[in-house]
Amino acid sequence: MAEEKMNSDKMWVTMGPQHPFSHGLWTLRVEVDGEIITDAEPEVGYLHRGWEKECENRTYNKIIPMADRLCYSASMTWSHLFCKVAEEALDIEVPERAQYLRVVADEICRIQSHLMWLAAVGTDVGNLTIFLWALREREFMLDLNVRLCGQRLTTNYPRIGGVRNDMPYYFERDCMRAIERFEKSLWDIIRLTDDSSIFVGRMKGIGYITRKDVANYGITGPAMRGCGVDYDIRRDDPYDAYGEMEFEVPVLKEGDAYSRYMVRIEEMFQSCEIIRQAMKKLESIPKNAPYRLKVPKCIPEGTHMARIEDPRGEGLMYLVSDGTESPYRLKVRSPVFVNVSASKHMVQGVRIADIPAIMAMIDMCLGETDR
């Protein structure tokens, strides 16, 4: 095989694990013919730390802050997901106030995660202004996180049976202000991206996936909705208070990198809408209403499954409990883990310059991929 490769005009370029385009530690080995990519092979596992095995030795409460660390920018949804699977095991629904608080926290997390992604897109296409403007907006979302739960990234906010604390004073006011400001500033960033023919030209027409392939490869999240699959767990398999929220799920049929980009931008606007609705609902719930249930330390025996719409796709946890304080087995289905396995399919026939643009649309997060 080696000799054959030596004699051909093609060469293998190893992009990663330390490469500016790979946000995190992973490798994409690509075979290029000039600048055109003919083959590719993703390699992950540099960050594998046996997360699932580690959980088997920890009590349920101790896993919540660990679940935060699965993904630095979507920490809220991961700890939420873990709490959901534990609640499913305990067969309880959390109080109404906690449900809405979780929705607000989740959507703040989704916005800041998408902004992190937008910043990464900025660097990948070579414009640092997008990067810094997006991070500037993200900072306001992180400030909301700080107000709500005391930390910027590793929030540790959901608890099994509710949330850690109620809203602090004036949180509604701060939240509404931040959302309003954010919506205005996002239009500013859109002026740099969608109004720029260079940016659109770099995004359009690369990394096509058909609807059939998306389902077959198991790609989920905005990447899936950008390819014509009209499916969102928040709407179709509602958890917590999402069933009562009214929002639209953006779906585009093109299936290229640009449509995936647009789906994410629209999702940020929809998230703002959800936060507004949830805040309005929270006003109608009395302030001293319960937001946290007292739950037993041990979770009854059985197998349990919960899933959630992570900013990157479908997060699924499968829990086997044996009646003790710690889980017997906890399986995490990470959306990026599946999405990146399809990268070979996506980069076929594009140029080297397109790889960062296509891979940015997966929104890599290696913490949850390698677990």
């Binding site: 600048e35 296409v125 070579g126 414009n127 640092l128 202004t129 810094l132 260079i198 140029r351 310059a353």
Partner: protein, 393 residues
């Protein structure tokens, strides 16, 4: 007499003597400065020698006209280089501060509003380990690097700041600058190949690919300017613009096309394909570590300076300024500063483009080059010819 007074050795030559002694036909300011430096420096040395060996011939020889001329020419080159070098650092500072403010941050903060940061960066790159990979083509690796930097520095020194600040007043001034400018992609290709690294090879290939898309429109634009002014000589072009009108007004299309080409020529964002850091790590510079990289960086700014200067010469009237109240005082004191300010202004547009636009792809730059820049430059040329034929200009 045991020793003579130091004033005997320091000759203060007048304007007439200077013109008579100098190799130039017209007054040259850096030459004047260099002569002044040598008069004090050489006079001091001659006086010191005379203290030890009284009445020797060397002291007299040191302050004689031919020797002063010789040393003055060496010193003049240093003066010219130092000015362009410092101005490049100023441009670097301008870029960092302006870019920072555009991105809603502060830019560099070290000393003198951040200007001393470039000195710190320079020092840092010089202190770095000089890593040279083993499996390289040594000769081309080093020559490619040296020539890329060398041509950039040469170009920067060849740019005249005014009609009294130049090294040589060529008849083919603009043409030779263009010729040297176009040499770089070839050297980059060689350097990229010599490093035995896939990224740098692709970067070098991209530099060559990039060249054919902007070099031709650039030369057509040059033809427009030259046709209008009737000369390749920079002095003549500027004088013509001063006399009639800045070319930016009749050739407004050419001006904008030229800015795009100039950005591409100096390989800056959005046309920095050959060193696109998102996909090619550092492109053709990947294996040039430490101070080699620092020099390449500096060379890039030299080229940026020259590209801006070309735009100023061709469209913005060089060092000329529509002055009110007689031109004598202006020409006597600060045409160089006016020129440099104009260069900084054009560089501001470069920085703006860097802040607002993402990097283009290889096929896109070819598209832009052949489908937009090329026709625009031809249209510009047609307008120039029309104006010339009808005798408007």
């Amino acid at each position: 007499m045991a020793y003579e007074s130091i004033t005997n050795f320091i000759v203060n030559r007048g304007y007439e003597d200077l013109i008579a002694m100098s190799p130039y036909e017209v007054y040259n300011l850096p030459y004047d400065i260099a002569v002044k430096i040598w008069e004090s420096l050489g006079g001091l040395i001659a006086w010191l020698i005379n203290l030890i060996f009284p009445n020797n011939g060397v002291s007299q020889w040191l302050i004689s006209d031919p020797v002063t001329n010789g040393f003055a020419i060496i010193l003049m080159v240093i003066v010219i280089f130092a000015v362009s070098f410092v101005f490049c650092l100023l441009m670097l500072w301008e870029e960092r501060k302006v870019l920072g403010r555009m991105m809603d941050r502060r830019g560099t903060m070290v000393g003198l509003k951040g200007f001393l940061q470039c000195l710190g960066d320079g020092l840092k790159t010089f202190m770095k380990e000089n890593v040279v990979p083993k499996a390289i083509d040594k000769k081309i690796y080093w020559w490619g690097l040296s020539l890329v930097i060398g041509t950039s520095v040469l170009l920067a020194c060849m740019v005249p700041l005014s009609n009294r600040w130049f090294i040589v007043d060529y008849q083919a001034g603009l043409l030779i600058i263009f010729a040297l400018f176009a040499l770089a992609p070839f050297l980059i290709l060689c350097a990229g190949w010599a490093q035995n690294n896939k990224y740098s090879l692709i970067g070098g290939l991209r530099a060559a690919e990039l060249m054919i898309s902007y070099e031709i429109p650039m030369l057509i634009l040059l033809a427009g300017t030259v046709l209008m002014a009737g000369s390749f000589n920079i002095n003549d072009i500027v004088a013509y613009q001063e006399e009639h009108i800045w070319f930016v007004i009749p050739q407004i299309i050419g001006f904008f096309t030229c800015i795009v080409c100039a950005v591409a020529e100096s390989e800056r964002v959005p046309f920095d394909l050959s060193e696109a850091e998102a996909e090619l790590v550092e492109g053709w510079q990947t294996e040039y570590a430490g101070m080699k990289w620092g020099l390449i960086m500096l060379g890039d700014y030299f080229r940026g300076y020259v590209a801006c200067a070309l735009v100023v010469f061709m469209y913005l009237g060089g060092w000329s300024l529509p002055v009110i109240g007689g031109e004598d005082w202006y020409l006597q004191y600060f045409p160089e500063i006016v020129f440099l300010l104009k260069v900084a202004l054009v560089f501001f547009i470069f920085v703006l483009a860097r802040a607002a636009l993402p990097r283009v792809r290889t096929d896109q730059i070819l598209n832009v080059g052949w489908k937009a820049l090329m026709p625009l430059s031809v249209i510009n040329l047609a307008i120039v010819i029309l104006l010339k034929v009808t005798g408007v200009m």
